[in-house]
């Protein structure tokens, strides 16, 4: 099983228990395993079984670490790996303090049920907001340190020597005076019996002594399997006796099922059952996905589409435009008096921008597998948040929490679709509940995935800047107009902020982890909230994507009026911000900004602070025919304060640019008759290998009181760098996204 297995699996991996006894005591995964299992370890991938019987015969040493007699180190991780490197990074943090041999490290996923039984001892499962490493680095390191201390104590006890004379190194405990040593494996059993020391009281290693943290250790998620296609994702799961279902949800958000005629399809090949899932969706359960899909395509369903069926894209745009001019708005940032500066302006510039709805569109469409009986419910979910999936299972199953559990399975892309939103999990359980005792895998078609998303919110911006007679900037007004994610998803935060959605200001906020990293004279940034019937969600980077374009493109416009080089202008207004200057300068230096580029090559630059990290990107491109862009290179600098795995960070940065540039050039979701128009990748494209430029990443570690995130911050800065370079090449300012709508393409 090429996935991380739950730690509460028992005995044989071939054992499968259906029914009452299963969930509470720890379920065997019981998957059909025609493939070998890779070793999820630091060594290059080989085909070896990851043993399941970790808890009963090999007790843990503190909650975070299990040591096998053969010295294998099993680290517990509860965040979700989705290629971003979380399990490797977190394991590095533990391994550093544990002082173990990295080549012996493996990772296992405690299940949410296990976590409940252990009173949330591993903390939050939520993997989003670029939080995985930065919000757990302290307590996971302590988990490793606790285990190390217990192992050292066990050795000291065994040798009857003072603990101060012993130390741990590379999976051995050694006694300094005598030179005696014992392997972790040989000490594990005794160590596990010792009382667990207080994690808060333990001293952590000095970063200058780190040998694992900060190094590009081999990743623990099986790279080889991903490349060969051998990796098992949730959509690939096979369970004994499993049926497959597919679903059709009301194409208009807010509409409901009026009626459907199961008899029209029940006789079709492979069809087992047609079920209403909830008040807005119907599913067909069959022996295979193909049979289920053929049936649901033929199934007559009548919808109560509701009033939202009348909503058109033009209506939404009109509402946003009205918001740009409306008197009322929520103020996110205000310094000085931008209005007076505007009134006294000798030269004013203005620009309006647009950013569309976007879908996450991971390559693996939404899916989940569930098995329901009257006394237990288990779900196998490709999830960014095991606890959120568990909450959905508890609610949908109607069973007490102790009788529920979730197995986290590899996701074919998360990007924010699979954490906060567990609609697919709830649906899988509701379908499985109508087929008690039978595992049901629910797979959405690509069309369902494209049209039933949780969309990046649509947003417009109007930027205004005023200058004095010396062409010096005197004030800025930034008006955002568009949808709030939190108003729909976390209304409690909006209520607390008196109606304002603070997240709208990511990257240009007043303070905090997404604060603006310029010091402009007289600035006001506000938001006219214009919500729509389209359900919003957290798309990788969230609101930094459009805010980076709005601000960083306009910064270039302001620089031009001021008669300054775009880099110089940025330096001037971040003069008191050394870490912002550092990333800007790193990019500029690598690109040789001070010397002219080759003929026909043009440059652009952009920077932002978000998720606690400072990032900047520079772009070199050429334009032919006025509208065909060839990007020659992108240089990115990122300063997350501390880096756990530099190679992994580089990969994240490059990957974020693929996602961000795809959005810039190719992607939008539009509304017609209340429905999302784009149903597949033909109308929602992606940048290809041939189009993608080489990305050079410069990693800075500026330290500081808190760690910054890596998964998201860089995604936002490539687009404005490209747009700024395009202006240098053509004299045209591009202010609406995607560029394909302006006839501009990436070659």
């Amino acid at each position: 099983m090429k996935t991380l297995l739950s730690s509460n699996t028992v005995q044989s991996r071939r054992q499968f228990v259906v029914g009452a006894a299963s969930v509470g005591s720890g379920l065997a995964i019981g998957l059909e395993l025609p493939w070998g299992l890779p070793k999820l370890s630091a060594a290059p991938a080989t085909q070896q079984v990851l043993p399941a019987s970790l808890q009963s015969s090999h007790p843990e040493i503190g909650a975070w670490v299990v040591i096998e007699p053969d010295d294998r180190v099993i680290v517990r991780v509860v965040r979700s790996e989705m290629g971003q490197g979380t399990i490797t990074g977190l394991a590095q943090l533990v391994a550093e303090e544990l002082e173990c041999d990295w080549s012996k490290v493996q990772v296992e996923y405690p299940s949410p049920g296990e976590s409940l039984r252990r009173k949330d001892i591993w903390g939050s499962f939520s993997t989003g907001g670029s939080r995985g490493i930065r919000t757990s680095e302290d307590y996971v390191r302590r988990g490793g340190a606790v285990a190390r201390q217990m192992l050292v104590q066990a050795a000291a006890n065994q040798w009857s020597v003072p603990i101060a004379e012993c130390f741990a190194r590379t999976s051995f405990v050694m006694h300094r005076p005598s030179g005696r040593k014992a392997s972790f494996g040989s000490l594990a059993t005794q160590a596990a019996q010792l009382p667990v020391p207080d994690a808060k009281a333990i001293a952590l290693k000095d970063p200058k002594d780190w040998t694992i943290i900060g190094k590009s250790m081999n990743r623990l998620d099986s790279l080889a399997d991903k490349v060969t296609g051998a990796q098992i994702y949730a959509i690939d799961l096979k369970l004994p006796g499993m049926l497959t279902a597919t679903i059709r949800q009301c194409p208009v958000f807010g509409g409901t099922v009026k009626s459907f005629d199961a008899s029209a399809v029940s006789g079709m090949p492979g069809v087992k059952k047609v079920v209403q899932v909830d008040n807005r969706s119907v599913a067909v359960v069959a022996d295979t996905y193909w049979h289920a899909k053929k049936a649901i395509d033929k199934l007559p369903i009548a919808w109560n589409e509701g009033p939202n069926a009348k909503v058109q894209q033009a209506d939404i745009l009109k509402s946003l435009e009205e918001g740009l001019a409306n008197k009322q708005a929520f103020i996110g940032l205000q310094k000085g008096d931008a209005q007076s500066a505007l009134n006294a302006s000798k030269k004013t510039i203005e620009a309006s921008y647009f950013y569309p709805f976007l879908n996450h569109a991971p390559l693996e469409p939404m899916n989940a597998t569930a098995l329901w009986t009257s006394s237990s419910c288990k779900a196998w979910v490709p999830t960014q948040d095991g606890q959120a999936s568990m909450a959905a299972v508890i609610e949908a199953s109607g069973l007490p929490a102790a009788q529920c559990d979730v197995v986290k399975v590899n996701l074919g892309g998360g990007f924010g679709r699979r954490g906060a939103f567990q609609d697919f999990t709830t649906q899988a359980v509701l379908v499985a509940k109508q087929m008690p005792g039978t595992p049901v895998k629910l797979i959405w078609s690509r069309e369902e995935d494209m049209t039933q998303g949780r969309y990046h919110p649509i947003m417009m911006a109007k930027m205004k800047a005023s200058f004095n007679e010396n062409k010096e900037l005197t004030g800025i007004q930034m008006r955002l107009s568009g949808q709030s994610i939190l108003a729909a998803v976390r209304p409690a935060i909006v209520e607390k902020s008196k109606g304002m959605d603070p997240l709208v200001f990511q990257g240009v906020a007043k303070d905090g982890e997404h604060a603006i990293s310029y010091d402009f004279p007289n600035i006001v940034i506000d938001h006219a909230m214009r919500n729509t019937h389209v359900p919003p969600g957290f798309w990788r980077g969230v609101n930094i994507n459009q805010n980076a374009i709005f601000m960083e493109c306009f910064v270039d416009e302001m620089a031009e009026v001021a008669g300054m080089d775009p880099l110089e202008f940025r330096r001037k207004y971040s003069a008191n911000r050394p870490r912002t200057l550092a990333v800007l300068n790193a990019v500029a230096e690598r690109m040789n900004w001070s010397s002219k580029p080759k003929a026909g090559v043009f440059r652009g630059i952009a920077q932002q602070f978000s998720f606690g990290s400072y990032v900047a990107a520079g772009c070199e491109l050429s334009v032919t025919g006025g509208n065909k862009i060839k990007i020659h290179r992108i240089v990115a600098a990122t300063d997350p304060g501390y880096a756990v795995n530099p190679a992994q960070i580089e990969r994240q940065v490059s990957g974020s640019f693929v996602y961000g540039l795809s959005a810039l050039f190719e992607q939008e979701c539009t509304v017609k008759d209340g429905r999302i128009v784009q149903t597949n990748f033909d109308s929602f494209g992606s940048v290809r290998l041939a189009q993608m430029p080489p990305v050079e990443t410069i990693l800075l570690q500026g330290g500081g009181p808190s760690w910054g995130g890596v998964g998201e911050p860089t995604i936002a800065v490539a687009a404005p760098a490209v747009l700024n370079a395009f202006y240098q090449a053509t004299g045209r300012r591009l202010r609406t996204v995607p560029l394909k709508n302006l006839g501009v393409t990436l070659v």
Partner: protein, 154 residues
């Protein structure tokens, strides 16, 4: 003002505990009491009367997605006789904009002091259930609920 519930009959936090008679509970005293500050709204209601931790069995899902609609069931150990019954049972929130959720008026005409309903939670927090008997005693319990979306935003 009493900030921590002192307990005559201490037992660990959480729902789903088995019933017992309410004399001779010393055996359970080894388990820690709540160790959690009592919400001001609870203290105001008790108005100086001691709050005893126990007898109230509160059951909520430990994990909920968004907190909009959370199933809750609460039961108080009581013979519900004329001379010994629960008169009033109040539910409080630690972190909602308003601490008040519901007040239930019971009495000996009911066979059991038990209510099920659905509540709304703004954030991960503890929900408190406090019972007042006809003899003026206050019994309380609480349960922590994690709202998984709260971990998520941003």
């Amino acid at each position: 003002m009493q900030r921590r519930a002192f307990f005559k009959n201490a037992f660990a936090v959480g729902g789903g505990l088995s019933m017992w008679g309410y004399s001779g509970l010393a055996a359970l005293a080894s388990q820690a009491g709540p160790g959690r500050d009592i919400p001001q709204a609870v203290l105001s209601w008790a108005n100086g009367q001691p709050l005893q931790y126990g007898r109230v069995h509160l059951s909520l899902p430990p994990l909920v997605e968004n907190g909009f609609l959370v199933r809750m069931s609460v039961r108080v150990e009581s013979p519900m006789t004329k001379s010994d019954h629960v008169e009033e049972l109040r539910i409080f929130s630690e972190l909602n904009p308003s601490p008040f959720i519901a007040n239930f008026f019971l009495g000996p005409q009911l066979p059991e002091a038990r209510v099920e309903t659905r509540i709304r939670l703004a954030d991960s927090q503890a929900v408190w259930a406090v019972a007042r008997t006809n003899t003026g005693d206050f019994w309380c319990s609480y349960q922590q609920v994690i709202v998984t979306l709260a971990a998520c935003a941003g």
